[in-house]
Each structure stands twice: as C-alpha cells, then as structure tokens.
C-alpha cells in the first residue's frame, strides 16, 4: 500500500530595495548602467574603508516588517557572513544573523476560497554581491571571468517564511501576494526578470500526520512564478519516488534547470560553507525608536487586503473584480484615479476587467507602460454616459486611445463619431428604412418582435453607427404599434 505524503515548503525571498543609494555608501543603486560605474572604495572593499548604514534601508525594512505584521526589534545588529567568492569584495557579506530587524510576522493568503495564514519567521537587511561574467560556462572552466560591482552593496531584504506552505500552488500564491505587498508599500521594484525579487525554497515530504519534518532540500535559481511552481512540482515527485522506494532524502542545495525542467544537486550539507558569522565591529548596534516605528506605521499606504475589502463593501464591486484590481498596486492605483474622474466604480471596473486587461494581455504590456491615462479613461466614460457616443463607439475610441494615447474628445472629433440623438433627423431615416423593408415591417406587426432588431440595425447602418440606439428603438416602436392604439 502506498503512503500519503504531506508536502512542507518554506520560502526565502530576497528583494532589492529601491533606495536611491547603496546600503553602506553613497553610490547609486540604478539598474542597467555601464559596468563598474556605480562603485567607490567602500563598495569595492578597498583596504581601510568603513561602512555607514543608509538610514532609508532601515526605514524600508521597518515598513516591510509592519506591512507583514512583524514585531520590530528594538535592538538589532549587523553580522559578517564570511566566504570567499570573487563577486564579494570584502570576502564577507554584511548581513544580520541572530538579531534581525523584524520577526514573528504573518501573511494571509487565500487558497481554494479559504484564508490561510503563512508565518513570517524573520526579515533581515543585507548587502547584495557583484556580478561575474564568465568566459566559459562556469568560473572553473573559464580562462577568465569579469567582475561588475555595480550591484555590490545594493540593499536587500531577506524575508523568510515559516514552513507553512503545503503545495507548489500555495507557494506561488504566497509569493504573488508578497510581491503585491512590496509593490504597495513602494520598497522594491519586485521584478523577477531583473533580479530585484529572488526566491529560494526549502521543501520536504513527510507521511501524512507525522509530527516531525522530513529531510529538506533547498532549491535555488527559480527565476519566475512559473519556474517556482514547476521546480517544486518536480522536486515533490523526485522526493516521493525516493521515499516510496524506501530511500533517504539527502540534505542538500539543488539548482533548478528551467530548460531541462529538473533540479540538480549543487552541494551537500557536508560541503556547505561554515560562514563563521560574528557581529560586524565596524557598525554599531541598531536601537530603533518606537516613536519612529509608529510614525512609519501611521504612514503605511493601504494594503491589498484592506483595499479589496473597501472595493467590495464601499464600492460594491464583485469580489472577483476587486481581487484582480488589487492584485497589483499599479492596477489598483489606476482604478483609483479613473474613479476619481468618473465616480461609477462598477462601470470603471467593467471597463478595466474587459477592455483594458484584454488589450494589455493581447499586446503583452504592463499597466505602467499603458498609454491611456486614467484621466482620459474617465473622460471617455463620461462622454459615453452623456450619450454623446454609444457603447460600441466608446470601445472603438478606447482602442484608438490604447494605441495612440490620444485624448478621447479629439479622437471622437477627428473620426466624426458623434452620436445622433436628434429625433427629427432619426425619424426621417426610420421612415426610409420602414419604406424599404416592407417584409420585416409585416413580420414585426404579425408578432415577430425580434424583427425590430434588424430594423434598428438598418437604421444604424444608414447612420454609419452614429444613431442613438435607445432613441431609434423608441421611435420605431412609436411608428409601428403592435396593436392599434
């Protein structure tokens, strides 16, 4: 008989903070500049220079901790993590070991319609390393490697979850939610492709109902949400097969190979570094003022969950819509700004869920690159509501706005897209249509009410779509009474 296994996953997420300058010097953190242009003696680890903490990094860490319901440590310190590698200028990374700045937090995710709390063990600050470009495939098969230290000293937060995740899907949802929160509180660009959001996973299996944890593997190099889910699914199968054959899982670090779709062993526990952590004597312990923490807490922006609840309760949006709109800060901000110009949340939501997201997905564009401004979006909805243009016309105008970024009024004027609501003009057209379609008129009068639609269509065609359909309907019904009045 086969044993049912329970999957246990914990995530370690690294996020680059978007402070203007590095964590211990005043070099810019900007991504994508020419190699070794954002460096100085401090971030290059030249002899004799000293680190000085960028206070914004501490502020961002506290902000993140508060957004994740953490305790903020009143006393915290920096430690050195020692290991040799050419991308690490000092041969140690300044990090936090036993006294991280934030601890005991939690993040609520929704899985299968039910809420689940995922514990946050700790959040700590550290510096990023530089980047190596190898001549060959790896450092040891290369004739030479080139070092770029622009990234050395860029501030990072490491956010460590409790082993509370029970499936690859939960892991992905947790990471998506975490990403949204980091985006909402504006501490990171959270771009997995650019490496400003990175994720490692600890994963183990244990027989259903077992109390102790199984031996875990640490999985690295998962560079997208999809990769995270695929790597964990692969790893579950790998471990399950070993366990079912009566084998033992080896504690080790494994790397995900996205192209091959497999994880491969990087190093065993025995080969793991002894990092020889000890308090960094160049930095003084951090004593955080509770009043300052309170100020940061009071200035926290609305978080996704609160916002979602507000959208469903105050604005009467369906939960599904609210969830999608609040899923990213950029989308939520866009929504807010459109509603500020056109206060019909449900209509705005319908348009965003329908037209906007459809076009964004079709073109593969992120909301922050969208040419339609929220102000123009609101203006369009207002023009439609005034009856100046029809819904169909509005969609045409919106597509034009999406590709050119132009003002809706301008597009409407240029295309002559004004709706005809003048009953006198429309009556003339209707008379022509009635005269030209005796069969339809007869059918309608005989009780085939659906025939009215084809007559409306004829009127729309005659007016090149500019007739106000509501008025056309009304006039047709007046002119073709079903029963003698």
């Amino acid at each position: 008989m086969s044993v049912e296994y329970e999957v246990v996953i914990g995530l370690e997420v690294h996020t680059e903070l978007k402070t203007k300058t590095k964590i211990f010097c005043s070099c810019p953190t900007e991504f994508g500049s020419e190699e070794n242009t954002h460096v100085c003696p401090v971030c290059l680890g030249l002899p004799g220079v000293l680190p000085v903490l960028n206070k914004r990094v501490l502020e961002f860490a506290v902000r993140t901790g508060l957004a994740l319901d953490c305790q903020i440590a009143g006393f915290s310190k920096f430690d050195r993590k020692n290991y040799f590698y050419p991308d690490l200028p000092k041969a140690y990374q300044i990090s936090q070991y036993d006294l991280p700045i934030c601890y005991h937090g939690c993040l609520e995710i929704e899985i299968g319609g039910a809420a689940k709390k995922i514990g946050i063990t700790r959040i700590h600050m550290e510096e990023d390393a530089g980047k190596l470009v190898h001549d060959g495939a790896t450092i040891n098969t290369s004739a030479y490697s080139l070092g770029d230290y622009n990234r050395a000293g860029v501030p990072l937060l490491e956010i460590v979850s409790e082993p509370d995740l029970r499936s690859p899907e939960e892991a992905r949802i947790y990471l998506e939610k975490l990403k949204a929160i980091l985006e909402y509180i504006d501490v990171s660009d959270v771009k997995m492709e650019e490496g400003s959001l990175r994720c490692d996973a600890n994963i183990s299996l244990r027989p259903q109902g077992a109390k102790t944890l199984g031996t875990k593997a640490e999985i690295k190099n998962m560079n997208s949400f999809k990769a995270l889910q695929k790597a964990l699914e692969y790893e579950i199968e790998r471990q399950r097969k070993i366990l079912e054959k009566g084998g033992r899982i080896i504690q080790e670090t494994r790397t995900w190979d996205d192209a091959q779709g497999v994880t491969a062993s990087m190093r065993s526990k025995e080969e793991a570094h002894d990092y020889r952590y000890f308090p960094d004597p160049d930095l003084v312990p951090l004593v955080v003022d509770p009043q300052w923490v309170k100020e940061i807490k009071d200035s926290l922006p609305e978080l996704p969950d609160t916002k979602r609840k507000r959208l469903t309760s105050e604005m009467a949006l369906p939960d599904y819509d609210a969830r999608i709109i609040t899923g990213s800060k950029a989308l939520a901000d866009f929504f807010d700004r459109v509603v500020a110009g056109y206060n019909e949340p449900k209509t705005v939501s319908n348009w965003m869920m329908g037209e906007l997201l459809r076009l964004l997905n079709a073109k593969g564009i992120e909301i922050d690159k969208c040419k339609v401004t929220p102000e123009n979006f609101a203006a369009l909805l207002q023009i439609q509501a005034d009856g100046t243009i029809s819904g169909t016309m509005a969609k045409t105008v919106f597509e034009e706005m999406f590709s050119t970024g132009q003002d809706p009024a301008l597009i409407i004027r240029e295309k002559g897209l004004v709706q005809i609501s003048d009953e006198g003009i429309l009556a003339g057209v209707i008379d022509k249509v009635i005269a030209a379609n005796p069969q339809s008129v007869a059918d309608y009068k005989a009780g085939k009410e659906k025939t009215l639609g084809s007559l409306v269509g004829q009127v729309m065609k005659e007016t090149k779509g500019q007739a106000n359909p509501r008025i056309v309907n009304k006039l047709l019904k007046e002119k073709l009474p079903l029963f003698p009045a």
Partner: protein
C-alpha cells in the same frame, strides 16, 4: 640646539616668527633620513618630492599672511597602514606591496588640511601584528638607542623615526599596545586615545573593535597638539564617538595636586623586570611629591585579558584580511582555478605571524567553537571593562609599566610567539576596555628607555596629558635622548 632636536611646539614658534622656513626644515629632515635611515630603516617609503612641494606651499601661504594651524609646515610621518592618496600604502606586507590608495585616511586628510608635511610612511609589523617590527614583510627597523635591539611594535617604524629625529612626530595605531610599547622602547611619548576619538576611516584594519590611531611625539605638549588635529567625530566611521574634542593643550598646566592615582598590583607581578618596577616606583614617588595621592589597587580580571584579546583580535583579523584575495588589487598569483588562485596569492602574500593569527581567528569563529571561544572572550572583555569602570570611581588615573622589559634583542623572542605576546600584557587590557592610555619615558636601564603607562577613563585624555606634563616638567628622566646615534 640643532633644528632636528626641537619639538613641534618649538618649531611652530620659529616658523610663525619666520625664523626658519618649512622648506628649510623639511630639507633638514629629508637630509637626516637620507643619512640615518640606511641604518634605522624606519621608512618603507620616503616622500621627499611631495614633502618639499607641501612645504613650499605652506611657506607661500604663510608669506601671504594666512593664519595657519599649529602643525603647519612641520615634517611628520605615518605608519604604513594609514591610506595616503597616490602614495603606496603597504601595511608592510607583500600582499599590498603595489597598493596605491585612491583616497586619504581621515587622519591623513586632517593633518594635510592642517598643513602638515608628509616625509614618509613608516615600517611596521605586517598588518600591525607583532611587538618588535620583526614581522615586517620587508625589513627590520632598529632601535635608535641600540642597533641590536628591536624598536618594539607594531608601530616600530613610527617610534624609531621620532626617537631618531627622522620626523618631528608620527602617527601609529594601537590594537593591543602597538603605539605604547614601541614608544616605551624608543623613549618617546605615545598615546592610544579612547576608542572612537580618532576616526578609523582609511586605517587598514587589523582588529576593528580594538584599533585606534594615536600620536608618537617627543614630548607631552606635542602629543596634545597632534591630538588636537586628529581627534573628533567623523561621519565616515560609524564607531567614531559623537563627542566634540576639547583643546587638549588646555590641560597641560593645571598641576596634579590632590589627584588620586591607582597602581594596580596585577601589573607589578611576575614577569616585570626589577629595573622597570623600580622606575615605576620612582615615578610614583615623584607624583606624590607633586601632590598626587598614589595607592595600590586591583584589577582582578587582568590575567584573562590576554587570552581574550588573542581570540577577539584574531577573529576580527581573520575576516578583515579575507579581502586580500588577489581579485581586485594587491598581489595576485595565478592558479589552476579560483580557489587555487586564492590559496597561492594568500600563501605568498602573507607572512608567518599573519597566517598564524588568521588561522587562530578562523578557528575561534568556526561552528562548534564560537560559543566556547569567541562568545566567552566577549564576556571576559566585559569583565575587564568592569574592572576599569570600578577603578575609575576611586581614581583619576592608573599608573603601570608600559612593557615588562626594555627593548629586547633581535631574534630573542621571534621564535616563541607566546613570549612575544607577553610583551603586551600591560597594554592589552586597555584596548579591551576602550579607555585611553599614555606611555611616557621614565629613565634608562643599561642605556635603554623605560616607559611608564598612565591609564585614564573614557575620554579622559586630558587627565593623562596633565599628569604626563607635570612629570615631564619636574623630572629629567622623562626626556632621554639616544646618544649613540652619532656612532651608528
């Protein structure tokens, strides 16, 4: 008196009265170095051209009527672990033999801004690890009192340069006695300030929580003048104390009537040479004569200071020196792969004592040993500090020998690391506690200087200068001069 015998404050007066020019004075010193340093070997680098340029500029500024600082135009030298922009800074190590920093240390910057003239960089024990300067990766420096004797260390070059008048004053760094012990051996004044008083920015680290820069001078007044220039907060050093500095010269003439001075008995025990002990007694008697109250006291955790020091200092060093990997600067020896390159570079670049301390420190921080060694040492450090805190509730300062003996001979202790480590038994506890201490010459034994140490409470440099000055004004024993130099 010849120019080269004068102190900085005497030269300051001559320069201000235009009796001499800085260029003239600098040439005198460069000349002295060119004649004498073949024997003494206090310098790793002599910056003659640069010094004359700096001196010329100061003369011009003085001629233009500009108000200049006390040390303007006066030749000085820096220990070769303080970064100097554009001037090789080696730590007396092969691994940094080609390193030219693109920046100045905070002390370099402050002295040069004050108009100081840099004549060179002084030899030292490699990475400041040692007590005789025999561990220099380049050559040995000789004691100006006796060419067969060591100058002490690790700031041996800095002390010898002042004693031999190759510089008017120098800066040294002190992690466990590295300013005070060579000052004692070479018969000059050496001050290790309170941890945090002088910025460590640009000082190549040995043990960051213990390292402190301080002056080596011909007398106490010079010590106060140099401290005036180099002390004070620095935003580039997070451990720099946010305390505004006083005018240290203001403490000099206050007298010491009624001052309470403790003599810790643990510093007078076994291992202290009888001659050194008797000099100390003479100093105490002189202080009493001048109105101070001296009495025996106790710092009970003294004997644990040295083992704790050798764990903390080497642990920090193992991490501080890890950056010398041949990747970005300094020596590189190519290897089969990256690990091989690290090994070959570090194997060739570091000397025996440096390797010994890196290994000790790495061991002390390793999993399974951290609690037993490193954490335990930190607890001992607290106890040592508590000893001093308690003593300073009763005493204004403490008096001890600086070193157990006078300068020893080359090779006498270099084969026995423990015997060498014992040289710092009187100085190490002060670094652990972070308090200031001053070494002052007090007498000669068989022609070699004896140093006495005054220890103060944190930021109590003023009291040390005050006591030192009183002794200096009232005892010829405080001003020895190496009379054999002519024969060398």
């Amino acid at each position: 008196m010849a120019l080269i015998d004068l102190t900085a404050h005497e030269l300051k007066d001559l320069l201000q009265k235009n009796k001499i020019s800085s260029e003239e004075l600098t040439r005198e010193y460069l000349n002295r170095i060119s004649i004498l340093d073949e024997k003494i070997r206090a310098f790793v680098t002599v910056t003659g051209e640069l010094a004359l340029q700096q001196a010329g500029k100061i003369d011009q500024r003085r001629a233009a009527g500009e108000a200049l600082g006390a040390l303007a135009g006066i030749p000085m030298a820096l220990k070769d672990n303080m970064c100097t922009r554009g001037v090789k800074t080696t730590c007396s190590s092969q691994i940094l033999n080609n390193f030219i920093p693109p920046y100045d240390a905070a002390v370099t910057e402050r002295l040069l801004t004050a108009g100081a003239v840099l004549v060179g960089k002084c030899n030292m024990d490699e990475f400041a690890m040692g007590s005789s300067t025999e561990n220099s990766g380049f050559f040995k420096t000789k004691n100006p009192y006796d060419e067969k004797a060591v100058p002490g260390g690790s700031s041996g070059g800095s002390a010898a340069a002042v004693a031999a008048s190759e510089a008017v004053y120098t800066l040294g760094s002190d992690t466990g006695g590295s300013i005070r012990q060579p000052a004692a051996f070479c018969g000059v004044v050496g001050l290790k300030p309170t941890y945090g008083v002088v910025s460590r920015y640009g000082l190549i680290a040995y043990a960051s929580s213990l390292d402190q820069i301080g002056p080596l001078t011909k007398d106490i007044t010079d010590c106060a003048l140099v401290l005036n220039e180099i002390a004070g907060p620095d935003p580039r050093d997070s451990t720099s104390a946010p305390v505004e500095k006083p005018d240290y010269t203001s403490f000099l003439s206050n007298g010491i009537k009624g001052l309470r001075i403790g003599l810790p008995k643990e510093y007078m025990g076994e291992g202290i040479a009888p001659g050194v002990a008797s000099c100390l007694k003479q100093a105490a008697a002189k202080l009493e004569e001048l109105g101070a109250v001296c009495e025996e006291t106790s710092l009970p955790h003294t004997e644990y200071a040295m083992p704790a020091y050798y764990i903390i200092a080497t642990a920090e060093a193992s991490s501080n020196l890890a950056r010398y990997d041949g990747v970005r600067y300094g020596l590189r020896i190519q290897g089969g792969d990256i690990i091989d390159m690290f090994k070959k570079t570090r194997g060739a670049g570091f000397g025996t004592e440096v390797k010994r301390r890196i290994m000790l420190g790495t061991y002390a921080l390793s999993t399974g040993y951290y609690e037993a060694y490193y954490l335990k040492a930190l607890k001992v450090r607290t106890l040592v500090k508590d000893d001093f805190d308690r003593a300073f509730t009763k005493y204004d300062c403490l008096l001890t020998p600086t070193a157990p003996t006078t300068a020893f001979r080359f090779g006498e202790k270099s084969q026995d690391p423990l015997a060498m480590y014992l040289q710092d038994v009187c100085t190490i506890p002060i670094n652990l506690a972070g308090v200031p201490a001053l070494s002052l010459p007090f007498g000669l034994l068989q022609g070699l200087p004896v140093g006495i140490q005054l220890i103060g409470k944190a930021f109590g440099e003023g009291t040390l200068l005050r006591v030192g000055y009183a002794l200096e004004q009232n005892s010829a024993l405080t001003r020895p001069r190496p009379d054999r130099l002519g024969a060398m």
